[in-house]
């Protein structure tokens, strides 16, 4: 009996002693004081040691974009960090940053943990963009079963026109949503019922921010136009994986509601020049390409423009009349929609197939596909298929510009 008692006491004493010793060392060794952070040599911040740089910047209302939510995959939160306090780049960053960027001390803010004083440079536009501001919803309408167009009225003190290709960040507050309560227009109810999306539920405990490209035409000045695709889980896994937190919320907003947005940001822009421009889009990759094409045509460009756009069925094809009208107005613009899986009722007479196949078929007849500039925006699968096609056509990578939704 004494053996058991004493044994237990010895082990307990040992473990408690070791834990106390470790705690004492920990408080000695790991300093917990604040660290200093200089932003663009203008702002001087204090932050807790051991926190992520992205959280610090967001905490001080510096809206560094982070489309992936700080997981180190989108590469949008690039900042230049000098000073020992930032440590060495993580393995996650080495995959995203080029060797040249790494030599220039570029880091991903979401992967950088601060352990000492350092100096940070963020793009000036971001520093002056300030924090999110409230906009009111001017209109909202469904374009396709999963795509909703939302138009926000910009406040008077904000930029009323954007550079085509820019994106803004939208913050959804904490909310709860049962998709059965969503009111859908008649033509889209059937696909929702077949896919079972109405049975989804989603709840979000905190404010979440995501990036959305602007689809503004020149005549949309004063507003911000977004094409929001509801990020639905893969079929059959509706109960395990929640749908997109911000896109779900944006399906609930109605005209007159207030939405918090920040920006604009972006580096996906049309390059000046005279080369022919080929736009390839899929899904809501429509948004930035629509803005670019409208802006280019309204600016009176004489560059030849082709727009390849891929959708699954006719119901998923939107803004189609608009581009048909543009093609009639402008001889040097052509609109090439293609359906990968046209429904029997669609009476589709246009091209069918994946958009990279349509692109390849047309561009192999082109005199010099390598002389064109390519602007791609769409889901990652489409981007990689199109990149492979362009490589076969002999297009150099520096003539291809793309936005793969930060995936």
């Amino acid at each position: 009996m004494t053996e058991i008692l004493l044994g237990s006491l010895v082990i307990m004493g040992l473990v408690v002693g070791l834990a106390m010793g470790l705690l004492a060392f920990r408080s000695r060794l790991l300093p917990s004081g604040d660290i200093g952070l200089d932003v663009n040599d203008r702002m001087h911040l204090r932050a807790k040691r051991g926190v992520r740089l992205l959280d610090v910047l967001h905490g001080f209302d510096i809206p560094i974009p982070a489309a992936c939510g700080g997981k180190g995959t989108c590469g949008l939160c690039r900042v230049t960090v000098l000073g020992d306090g930032a440590g060495t780049p993580q393995a996650t960053e080495r995959g995203v940053l080029s060797p040249r960027e790494r030599r220039a001390h570029v880091r991903l803010a979401c992967q950088t943990t601060l352990s000492g004083d350092c100096a940070v440079w963020v793009p000036d536009g971001i520093l002056s963009a300030g924090s999110g501001f409230a906009c009111t919803v001017a209109s909202a309408r469904m374009l396709a079963p999963l795509i909703r167009e939302i138009v926000l009225n910009m406040p008077d003190d904000r930029l009323s026109t954007f550079r085509a290709g820019d994106f803004m960040q939208i913050t959804a507050p904490a909310y709860r949503l049962d998709f059965a309560t969503l009111e859908l227009p008649e033509p889209f109810r059937e696909p929702w019922e077949i896919a079972g999306w109405s049975e989804m539920r989603v709840s979000s405990e905190a404010a979440v921010t995501r990036a959305y490209s602007l689809a503004n035409r020149p005549e949309d000045a004063g507003t911000a136009v977004f094409n929001i695709r509801l990020a639905v889980p893969p079929p059959g896994r509706e109960t395990e994986i929640p749908p997109g937190l911000v896109s779900s919320w944006l399906f609930t907003v109605n005209p007159g509601d207030s939405v918090t947005a920040s920006g604009p940001f972006g580096d996906f822009h049309v390059r000046p020049g005279t080369r022919e421009m080929i736009f390839v889009g899929g899904g809501v990759g429509m948004a930035p390409l629509r803005a670019m094409i409208h802006q280019e045509l309204a600016g009176g460009t004489d560059r030849r423009i082709r727009y390849f756009y891929g959708a699954r069925a006719a119901a998923d094809l939107f803004y189609s009349e608009e581009f048909e009208a543009l093609a009639r107005q402008h001889k040097h613009f052509s609109w090439r929609p293609a359906l990968s899986d046209p429904a029997p009722g669609d009476r589709w007479t246009g091209a069918s197939g994946f958009i990279h196949e349509i692109l390849q078929a047309e561009m192999t007849r082109h005199a010099s596909p390598e002389e064109c500039e390519y602007y791609l925006c769409g889901p990652p699968v489409m981007i990689s298929a199109v990149l492979a096609t362009l490589q076969r056509l002999g297009v150099e990578p520096d003539a291809i510009f793309y936005d793969d939704f930060g995936a």
């Binding site: 053996e3 004493l6 044994g7 082990i11 473990v15 834990a19 470790l22 060794l29």
Partner: protein, 204 residues
């Protein structure tokens, strides 16, 4: 003094942990890809073994060994069945301490260890150091020398393997042997070499 010196030599070379006793091979192979990380592992092993073996000696002799409680009037009390759990606790705490020290003063070394530093907690060579110490009934000074010696032996072996593997980056190996395959062969050849130390010990 000469006894301690010969104990040190035999712990480092004759009874070399990875190459003669084949203990701690997982970290030995995993962290020997480059000489720098191998050196870091060697230093860490020497530090952990040098601290845990004497510390465990104190705990074993003072609390667990048969007869340790004679002063309290319980000469027949034997808590040595607790030695495994006590040793592992001490090793875990020491590794944690080492991790904090490295993080504070050598962040680059800390980053190169990655997950292998916490894994030292369950490194068989480290636990074996404490178990051999009990098994061979070393005294306190002997346990210090044994801990440091076997740690240093591990360091020498892993740095050597790291240096060879660094060189092999330029060798044209058959595809199937690249990486761990050639590392196993190298370990075998090196352990043959270390077997000659055992011959020297016997012929003395």
């Amino acid at each position: 003094m000469t006894d301690l010196w010969s104990l040190f030599l035999s712990a480092a070379f004759v009874d070399n942990m990875p190459l003669t006793l084949f203990l701690g091979l997982c970290t030995f192979l995993a962290l020997s890809k480059r000489p720098e990380s191998a050196l870091g592992l060697g230093i860490a092993m020497t530090g952990v073994l040098g601290v845990t073996v004497p510390l465990n000696w104190l705990i074993y002799r003072g609390l667990l060994a048969p007869g340790a409680w004679t002063w309290a009037g319980m000469p027949e009390l034997d808590l040595s069945y607790l030695s495994l759990i006590a040793f592992i606790g001490v090793i875990a705490a020491t590794v944690q301490l080492l991790e904090m020290l490295l993080d504070r003063f050598f962040p680059a070394v800390h980053a190169s260890f990655g997950v292998f530093l916490p894994l030292l907690t369950v490194q068989c060579a480290i636990l074996a150091g404490s178990l051999f110490m009990v098994d061979r009934s070393y005294g306190f000074s002997e346990s210090v020398v044994f801990g440091l010696g076997s740690g240093l032996g591990f360091a020498v072996a892993v740095v050597m393997l790291g240096a060879i593997r660094g060189r092999l980056a330029y060798a044209d190996l058959p595809a199937g042997l690249r990486g761990l395959g050639i590392a196993f062969i190298l370990t075998g050849l090196m352990s043959l070499g270390f077997a000659s130390f055992a011959q020297m010990a016997m012929s003395q």
